[in-house]
Assembly symmetry: D4
Homo-oligomer: 250 residues x 8
Amino acid sequence: MTADKLKELLHEVAAGGLKPEEALARLKSLPYEDLGFARVDHHRSLRQGFPEVIFGQGKTPEQIASIAQAIHRQGAAVLATRIEEEKAGQVLALWDRLTYHPQARCLALAAPAGTKPGKSLVAVVAAGTSDLPVAEEAALTARLMGSQVERVYDVGVAGLHRLAGSAQVLGQASCLVVVAGMEGALPSVVAGMVDKPVVAVPTSVGYGAAFGGLAALLGMLNSCAPGLSVVNIDNGFGGGYLAGLIDHLE
Amino acid sequence: MTADKLKELLHEVAAGGLKPEEALARLKSLPYEDLGFARVDHHRSLRQGFPEVIFGQGKTPEQIASIAQAIHRQGAAVLATRIEEEKAGQVLALWDRLTYHPQARCLALAAPAGTKPGKSLVAVVAAGTSDLPVAEEAALTARLMGSQVERVYDVGVAGLHRLAGSAQVLGQASCLVVVAGMEGALPSVVAGMVDKPVVAVPTSVGYGAAFGGLAALLGMLNSCAPGLSVVNIDNGFGGGYLAGLIDHLE
Amino acid sequence: MTADKLKELLHEVAAGGLKPEEALARLKSLPYEDLGFARVDHHRSLRQGFPEVIFGQGKTPEQIASIAQAIHRQGAAVLATRIEEEKAGQVLALWDRLTYHPQARCLALAAPAGTKPGKSLVAVVAAGTSDLPVAEEAALTARLMGSQVERVYDVGVAGLHRLAGSAQVLGQASCLVVVAGMEGALPSVVAGMVDKPVVAVPTSVGYGAAFGGLAALLGMLNSCAPGLSVVNIDNGFGGGYLAGLIDHLE
Amino acid sequence: MTADKLKELLHEVAAGGLKPEEALARLKSLPYEDLGFARVDHHRSLRQGFPEVIFGQGKTPEQIASIAQAIHRQGAAVLATRIEEEKAGQVLALWDRLTYHPQARCLALAAPAGTKPGKSLVAVVAAGTSDLPVAEEAALTARLMGSQVERVYDVGVAGLHRLAGSAQVLGQASCLVVVAGMEGALPSVVAGMVDKPVVAVPTSVGYGAAFGGLAALLGMLNSCAPGLSVVNIDNGFGGGYLAGLIDHLE
Amino acid sequence: MTADKLKELLHEVAAGGLKPEEALARLKSLPYEDLGFARVDHHRSLRQGFPEVIFGQGKTPEQIASIAQAIHRQGAAVLATRIEEEKAGQVLALWDRLTYHPQARCLALAAPAGTKPGKSLVAVVAAGTSDLPVAEEAALTARLMGSQVERVYDVGVAGLHRLAGSAQVLGQASCLVVVAGMEGALPSVVAGMVDKPVVAVPTSVGYGAAFGGLAALLGMLNSCAPGLSVVNIDNGFGGGYLAGLIDHLE
Amino acid sequence: MTADKLKELLHEVAAGGLKPEEALARLKSLPYEDLGFARVDHHRSLRQGFPEVIFGQGKTPEQIASIAQAIHRQGAAVLATRIEEEKAGQVLALWDRLTYHPQARCLALAAPAGTKPGKSLVAVVAAGTSDLPVAEEAALTARLMGSQVERVYDVGVAGLHRLAGSAQVLGQASCLVVVAGMEGALPSVVAGMVDKPVVAVPTSVGYGAAFGGLAALLGMLNSCAPGLSVVNIDNGFGGGYLAGLIDHLE
Amino acid sequence: MTADKLKELLHEVAAGGLKPEEALARLKSLPYEDLGFARVDHHRSLRQGFPEVIFGQGKTPEQIASIAQAIHRQGAAVLATRIEEEKAGQVLALWDRLTYHPQARCLALAAPAGTKPGKSLVAVVAAGTSDLPVAEEAALTARLMGSQVERVYDVGVAGLHRLAGSAQVLGQASCLVVVAGMEGALPSVVAGMVDKPVVAVPTSVGYGAAFGGLAALLGMLNSCAPGLSVVNIDNGFGGGYLAGLIDHLE
Amino acid sequence: MTADKLKELLHEVAAGGLKPEEALARLKSLPYEDLGFARVDHHRSLRQGFPEVIFGQGKTPEQIASIAQAIHRQGAAVLATRIEEEKAGQVLALWDRLTYHPQARCLALAAPAGTKPGKSLVAVVAAGTSDLPVAEEAALTARLMGSQVERVYDVGVAGLHRLAGSAQVLGQASCLVVVAGMEGALPSVVAGMVDKPVVAVPTSVGYGAAFGGLAALLGMLNSCAPGLSVVNIDNGFGGGYLAGLIDHLE
């Protein structure tokens, strides 16, 4: 039941064509989602260019192309993550308006009407070359949301001088996404250098007692640096989305 | 907003004292929970004698007595779990209509208007004497819901003849709650003897590699016996509630 | 020793051809399983159309076809789970009376004599599209047992309005199977909307800290909603069987 | 070495009183922290009213009072967390300008010069009464940073109508801190209702398979709702600090 | 139904007072445990001096004394484990025929009629002094079963010369119980020195990454030495019982 | 230094060609392993027909054939485990005196001089068909050691009547190897039926919360049945070896 | 058999009073530990001032005093760890030559004859004040071994400028012990600053997802910095001992 | 900015060409890593022949060859680990000066100018043949650093006489790398035989409850032998590097 239909019902009551008791009975079975007042604005803002992500793993090329087109028709940016090169080619054969980003393993298409720029920039920091796919997924997500993105790559805690050299970029960001596997110490160090929110993204990079990213995850959760929060292992999209969201807060 | 108040509003519209547009505006900001149509039946059935549980651990005697009186005033059965003897005495000093069940470590009071009896009986099966507090919590819960409860205690998988001797009782139950710690194998064995739902309740009884009930929990989740499902470790209330619910299905 | 043989023995005693002491000696060594009185009714009810499941993973096409035929000869419904498309074709080449359900990854054949209908309906609720194979396995199982099944798919906790729109279907079910991976929060939400048993089925869907379904499993076990119990990760059969069992309780 | 001292050194070189080579030698052994150019702004902003937290657990009353006074002398707000009532009294006996917040288990003192107000408000949402100490720690932290705080308490996922009733407050916040134990599903549900950053704080509330907050933590990390990130179990300070930081971004 | 009652029934049939069909009907509902033929011998052998253990933890002095007396009346050895000194005194005040073994934390009483001696001896080997309570529990158990017990204590893998000096004793045992905490390597070393069964008992001795005995348990399960098997952490009774059983095999 | 060389040295001393002090100096640097007195008997008994196992996984066909021939030359039985069919063929092409046991996935060759028969028989009990490779590895190991082996397969705890039908065989065994995956409850049940040592072998059979055999392992370690001990997951050789060892104790 | 007795035996052979064959027979049954040649040097070096640690937890004051005196009589340094203040007083009442170090929670006494100084110095680095007891235990251990110890405390990864200020001290050490709880990132950072061995000591400091030191332990094991190794959680003695050992290598 | 450039800047100030204030402004934005005073010596020593490792897993042959050539041009030894035979061939086709070590799965090239020899030797000890790839990676690393390496392979704790036979080699090493999977007990035993640092390297060798090396890792961390520290599972490079470092300490 939409607001229109509810108004109509109330007019019927006002006009005497419907008794209050009958109206009450209809309202009692009113499905919640049809009212949906509170959610309308939220949905509208989402349609204004913020990406709705397609988790590509386990989906067929047909499914991905079809969902992508539906999102595009709504006027939103399209982002499909976790798509290996071969599957990307199959999707592009179906709908060639998407662009494949091989390092991020994503298919993407900007919102047709463009997006509102963020207030500053989003810095994406990564420790090692193996962490780059996750970092690139984060960078691409934030960019699709309209944020300017600066990359600070190949800065590990065992060689902090490289990180120190990027202090100026780090200091300009409104939000930082810090991606690291193995011991996951980099976000703590970065959070100690800035006074902005740091989104830590643990990766499954490592072996042995890395336990698929568990060591990095625990390290980040136990960080003694305030202003730092954590998303799921390898969740580059989640990190980039949150950073983009913060970069667009008014 | 209660149904009465909504009817009043609709009458105002019918009487012309409120324009449909004004009524719409009020309804738009109507807090969902005040309408609560969809939930009314559910709430009503709960008030007809099904217990609303008070998790006593970490609550003060005053809090427990006060919540208990509120539930009682609604006409429902009162059940407060995880209350040690000393705290029970303090609660009873505040409100002496509750009864303390020391083995179940619960305070309880039946629904004033009585409860609908279940269709058959609920069997509560327990392996060892250390499992009895959890088993008694389950039994008390099901009884407060109106179910007839039969206890089958001290039947371990390492001495199955005792269990076999209770086959008749087990066969009559509409639902069985099976409580076990350590290796947690008893529910599998019971589920192989009956064709009714078995609710398995792992307990934290054990030491060493029992890991606080984890071994029993995993054992029950991996049971090869169909018709068996599991609740949280030491959750006697959850087991008894589900069994009582099934025993009252029409 | 069958009941017939026992009767024969008793007749011999009655006729004086066997002394009581000799009969006692024979009975002492009587293998338990040959008596099997208590289990006969159980077995009979199982043969009246309730599925006996064949866990297909790790079995050869020949084994599956042969067990399926044996179950069918007993007059029961046949259900073979966890069978990929290629193996299904090999089984069907051996015995073509089975039907392959690709989404549920199951081979099935209804009981020849039909099954007793359930008293109401079983609702199968699933969060995401990746959870559908498990949900379909549950739905197929309950249907083979004679239950009417309603599917409520693609309702995640991060968009509750879709779930609310299905409140009526949920309210009619005698039992609900709720399938979810990742954080596994859906069963809690559903159990808060109904007053019927909810069987929660965690799935291994997810990545990173999902740890193969562990996160969903723990979430469900710790649910604060009463009336909810849990089966093993990805155990769609177990969920559907329990729901069908509850739907057939008299 | 401060900037002043460095300037002095350079003037000495310019004046010929110090040879370049001697200046170089001094600079080579220059401790990094004494330069501290990059960090000065950061430190200054911290001193302008943002709290520097004292983790009270394991510290003596003397230590707490002494550190608190030092922070106060720098002009910053004082916040000491995890202090039980008895120890709070001992600290207050040493320095009575602090205020004890018993539910948050914190000692606090606002920044002498006041704090810059945030741009909107911080909503602190909590599921159960046992989660309130952590929620209050978050609320107090954000308030000390200058943010307006709205509390939305006692809203569990098994009774979503109460949460829906607070939709307006949730929609106004620039950042939401959502605190939950047991299955930890509340942050997912809240993140689906708003388009602002949600900081999820798992608590150690629960028993059995809650494993000291692990179940809630994993649930939150695996949330399918974008815009959600997680801090350590029971880390109310961390949640409130991040929310206050976001609420003050310009 | 006892054997006597069954004989009586058969006599009734023989005498014509009961028709075979009526006897069959009665037998069909015959509880399994009352027959219990197969288990009688087993029970008898247990009563001939093998200990039936009372797990003392969580039991009251009255319960312990009462169960102990019941076991003693059956002619069996009495063994009550995990009893601290104070509780032991309370039990002894109720029944002073038991003896308290403080290091093993056990109350015990030999079987009145004595026990059959084992064929050789049981060696109980322990690494450190903290492991002695578990080792002594094992030694006492085996002794109550009639086995001769030799103790080889204070032999750690980091000082193997002490172990080598006991090679003769180790070589004479029919079974060895090896108790160790921390890294749990001792059983592997011992099993490489003998060709007899080694029962490894991990203990919860240790700290940090010992994880309450988990490290020792895993070490023992992964031993490359054949002839070695493992019981639960701190389960001295289990180790001693198995060794005594093996020492009495004929 | 062999015994021969030591005798030679002592003769030199006796003949006056070597001073006692010089002999002492040489003995001080005497490598322990060359003496090896204590180990000789042990080694000899091992060579008298007990298998020395070759863990085939990760070894080349050439390595397996070569080690197998070396063991055979010592007069011992040969057993190579974890060898898939294809690799078995390659080994047999190199040395065709071995026999491949496909279900046990082992290559074997009896000791040339035969083996001493055990005193009774070893029972190998298994729950499901997926557990058979591990069970067969155990059975083959015990048989190579000279024990008579009886198999009791397809007896699950959810259908105990089949197990009860094998009570006589179980009662005759001197030791029982019980193999089970999933919840791992079978060893507890069997240990409650016999008064002989039970070696429990957990298997990695199962899915979801079976966690690769962890659930079965924990279940077995926490068994309340005395006389039961556990070996590593899928370690059929370990179970069979220990059973054969016990069956040969004198 | 001591060296003296062996010399005596050889003299008997030399004197003709014992035939070589008889001597051989005696030597064959010679217990290994009595020879102990190979270990003598090792033991001697230990007695020359390297501490033999007494793990004080769980030992009585009498036991501690008695073992301490025995070690002192051997001429070695005495170190008893994990001793709370009250117990320390009780030990000192028995033997007042020990000194109590309250922060390290140790009782100690230097080797009477002094110790050989190390070649350089041992740096003990700690992140937070809660880590100091473990750091002090390490420092005291290394000092008792004769090493010069420099402490670098209160240097966390979230404020690296303090660490950089101590670069000179860190660069002089022959070995560094780095102690950290929570996320455990400090050792990685330190190992990136020096080219000497770094011994990482995780502590149980932290809460929530610190899991008693597990997070720190995993972080250190996964460090990307070469030259770093790890000891058990809270094992200050182990860290200090290894550093002292390295500092004394020749 | 190098030291040269800084000197140049100071000369400009001295010559009056640059005002102190301008110099200050330049210095304020001076990137930390360009100063890098503290790190110069460290970097230099690294360039003098100590290997900088290339973690080959996940890198393309082109990347490996290119990084290897860059390291070689710096005059350092090249070591690329975790490279399977096929990929090694592809790298060698690009740059044939590297040598492939198949058992260690490494590509290597000695430092052009040679390396400083260590002071003694590094012993690499391994338990089983499956541990050899990790052991060889350690041995190769230490050798590239200039250390003399002695291998002691195939010495398991279940057959200690083989280890004892190598006591002399073990005693000569300045540092020992001990590699073991399964229960991981070997490092404890070795550390009890020597008074030199022991670096324990757990391997992922094993099955079942080995949990990918976790059992070995925990065993080593809980070792009661002082002087022992641990690196990550399968981290042969880390073990060899630390040993080479210790062997080169002056």
